[in-house]
Amino acid sequence: MSVVVMERVVFREDRCKGCEVCIAVCPQKIIALDSRINKLGYRSAAVKDQEACTSCGLCARVCPDAVISVYRPARPAKPAPAGEGRKAS
Amino acid sequence: MTKSASSAPAGGVPVLMKGNEALGEAAIRAGCRAFFGYPITPQSELPAYMARRMPEEDGVFLQAESELAAINMVYGAAGAGVRVMTSSSSPGISLKQEGISYIAGAELPAVIVNIMRGGPGLGSIMPGQSDYFQATKGGGHGDYRLVVYGPATVQELVDLTIRAFNVADRYRSPVMILGDGILGQMMEPVVFPTEKPAEVAKPWATTGRQGTRGRNVVNSLYLAAEELEAHNLRLQAKFAEMHSNEVIYESIIPEGAEVVCVAYGTTARVVKSAIAMARQEGIKVGLIRPISLWPFPDEAFVNLPDTVRSVLTVEMSAGQMVEDVRLALNGRLPVHFYGRMGGMWPIPRDVLAEIKKAAGREAGVAR
């Protein structure tokens, strides 16, 4: 059984103006400008390595164009130890 | 605000009131919910009246920090969908012109009162009619028109103020009451109507979406040239409709009239006295009294009797409305002008002398 992890960072690349502020704040240094030109005429920022993302959300919080949504994987459901309830996440 | 006992004058019976105060009462009876103003003579009794009466009606009176602020408070309140008014006098109205242009551009209903005084500049506090151009030809920037009323009596001030609120709402357009210092300051008997104003639905107003609709926007900016032209064409169609529907005037043309006088506001009352004096001397004189200054009553100048030899326009200005009279006549009759300025007003004897000149009755004047 394989596990598919959905992308942690989603860029609406057609909205990006290539200002590079997200690139500057990313602690993992995993954002770079794409080589393609988007419909606004800019090279959009994109995440090169989704697996390295820690879902810190800094890129989304500095983005002037509301391009970025950030997610984190839900904790895989572990069997609850006997006698203990599980907190809803 | 605590509602205090009403000091409203009775409706349906004559009461003696000063013009400025009667205007305020008329606005309240027309459903005016907010008044924003700034002190200036000779209209100061109006804001003072509103300051006292508005709280009694759960309405808003606010003295703004300037005329600029006052007219923009009007913009905000009108955009929020309530009946709103401001008043000032000539120099203050000049300051309000930017806001009036925005109100016209954003298509907001509002009533603006100008109790005119002498100009230009700081001028004087005495009455004048020298803001006619400003009121009827635009005033602020851009292609827009205001319906402008020139009342001649305190009763007319009341009736036209009520009408102004209705017309403003009907067209989503600012309407101006153009009085003068004499009318604002004089006391006359006046009868207020007793019926309540009709509620007008304003689904375009910024009342908060309240979960019932999408966003409403009040705006006069159209950055794309095509869009701004389309907006202007729509405005012009509205102004054309106002031009067809909103003309009001008084016309008294006796059979065999030799001269027709044209005057509005307080000046028309002086002219009426002069016309009565002329009749005693055997000169038949008519009067056209525009009540809507815009739209100007061009139709009143059509089909004047053949006996009319000339037209005499009388104003408290250097000659402003006279240009509209000439346009309406389009060269069909000679147009004379008599005006006083600077806070001086014409007196009947002087107007009579001008009537005689216009009639060619003055010794030594061949016509």
Binding site: D65 | E65, M73, T207, N219
Partner: protein, 275 residues
């Protein structure tokens, strides 16, 4: 067989922000501030009862970017327009969004009087030390020595005066209930900006009086810098001239005298951390 791991949103664009591309230049912090205002509207549930007033300047088109009702005001007059709305419909939450040319130059009279009346409105004041829309002219907020289109040799104090400290001035007014200056130059400061904007709206919701947040912002285009350089310029050049902090808070220093509030404003230091 494969299993998909569910994901939880850490950050998604706010619903009160219109789903359109803005006209702002790349990296302009107007965008981030718009987003933050919309986040606060979402959080406090204001979208259905708010009326925003757009001003004149780069943010003139703000009425296209927020999902609440909007009015567009003449240059500098947004606080008067907001007053008109709020006075006739006190149940609404009324806010303005104004730049420094609009608010700190042509509109000083309106904002000062709105504050001294204790007008229950919220002002979002963008200070980026320049006129953006008209092409980079000097503003009252322009720093001494800063080169602009109309101060090509740098702002000369002896000729055109010193930068205006509007928040400090407004904090002296008794009607001002919440006045803060924040910055946009990094995520931590954007977070403080969000907290201040939330406080400002709460001040209005609780009927406490006038609230304003002055936000140090960038203009990469007219400053002639990259967006990242511009953020650094805010931190290094603007923050020392415009100290960050809360200059008036009805809850914290409601009992403090206006003079004390003024002194506090003078000594306010850039907020700690997050540099």
């Amino acid at each position: 067989m494969s299993s998909i791991v569910e994901r939880i949103p850490v950050y998604e664009p706010p619903k009160s922000l219109s789903d359109v591309s803005s006209h702002y230049c790349p990296g302009c912090t107007h965008g981030a501030t718009h987003r933050i205002v919309a986040e606060v509207m979402d959080e406090l549930g204001l979208t259905d009862k708010a009326v925003g007033i757009a001003s004149v300047g780069c943010s003139v088109l703000a009425y296209n970017y927020f999902e609440c009702d909007m009015q567009q005001a003449a240059h500098g007059r947004a606080p008067a327009v907001a007053t008109g709305v709020k006075r006739v419909r006190p149940e609404l939450v009324v806010w303005t969004y104004q730049g420094d040319g609009d608010l700190a130059s042509i509109g000083t009279n309106e904002v000062i009087h709105a504050a001294l009346r204790g007008e229950k409105i919220t002002v979002i004041f963008i200070n980026n030390a320049i006129y953006g829309m008209t092409g980079g002219q000097a503003a009252p907020t322009t720093l001494i020595g800063q080169k602009t289109a109309t101060t090509p040799f740098g702002r000369d104090k002896s000729w055109s005066g010193s930068p205006i400290h509007l928040s400090e001035m407004l904090a002296l007014q008794e009607g001002a209930a919440f006045i803060a200056r924040t910055s946009t130059h990094n995520p931590a400061h954007l977070g403080r900006t969000r907290a201040a904007i939330k406080r400002a709206f709460q001040t209005q919701l609780e009927g406490k009086g006038f609230s304003l947040v002055e936000i140090l912002s960038t203009c990469p285009t007219n400053w002639g810098m990259t967006p990242v350089e511009a953020l650094k310029w805010v931190e290094e050049q603007m923050v020392p001239v415009y100290p960050l902090g809360i200059f008036k808070d009805w809850q914290a220093d409601g009992a403090r005298s206006p003079a004390a509030a003024g002194a506090a404003a003078k000594s306010a230091k850039p907020a700690e951390g997050g540099k």
